[in-house]
Symmetry: C2
Amino acid sequence: MKPTDSELEILHVLWANGPSTVRQVHETLSQSRDIGYTTALKLMQIMYEKGLLTREEDARSHTYTAAVSEEDTQRNLVDRFVETAFRGSASKLVMQVLGQHKASREELDEIKKLLNNLNQDAGRRD
Amino acid sequence: MKPTDSELEILHVLWANGPSTVRQVHETLSQSRDIGYTTALKLMQIMYEKGLLTREEDARSHTYTAAVSEEDTQRNLVDRFVETAFRGSASKLVMQVLGQHKASREELDEIKKLLNNLNQDAGRRD
DNA sequence: AAACATATACGAACAATTTCGTAGATGCAA
DNA sequence: TTGCATCTACGAAATTGTTCGTATATGTTT
């Protein structure tokens, strides 16, 4: 259920480019790091067995599609990460990230807006 | 340099309780999961070799201390995590976390305050 | 001092992940 | 139709992380 780092790389390619053959995925992956064709193939076969990918057995090659959504996957990853790295304290994580990374004004505004809503909710609950 | 999940568990114990013997760490760890004494020992020995822990060779047992700070470690982990799970988009991560996790009003206020400062900075830079 | 409790060190098994070589199938081109 | 390019499948090695049993040393108690 939890994709490994390599599997995540492949998922990102499929999320960004849509259904692709092993060759296409390998081509993209090659641009950012050294990886053999059969390595990519094997990874995608394993992911298929795990249910992380579906595939269409076309004429000669197979076309693979991500079977899990980017959102769901990231939600799962975040859950685990908050737990292991921040012992469950999501707000600590948020503050760490905000203090550390740059974000555009638009992004900050969007976050602020979301935060205001949450703040109102929290107020009502008290 | 990057602690594994098990190593992180041990670091959390040491960060929370301060310098401790293997026995003390094992005692704490046992409360949350099944783990043998020698397993904890081995992990801490490896962490010592890696430089994640220092140790004081007392009379009979050793007293271990975290050699890396909680803040630095979390910063590193967040960096990697943003990269692998969110392809570098820190704000996506923040929004994912805020939308998903509950936080107390105090925490939200604190985040909001931090965010306002950042927002001003971003404004000035434009 | 002898027996016991408890510590470290070490080796090894096991599992998961990553990597790639090689074999065999299949379509296409000469 | 023969040979070349390219595909999948498979097996296996290398790496890393986790786990614990056993040996051995060292204090402590009687």
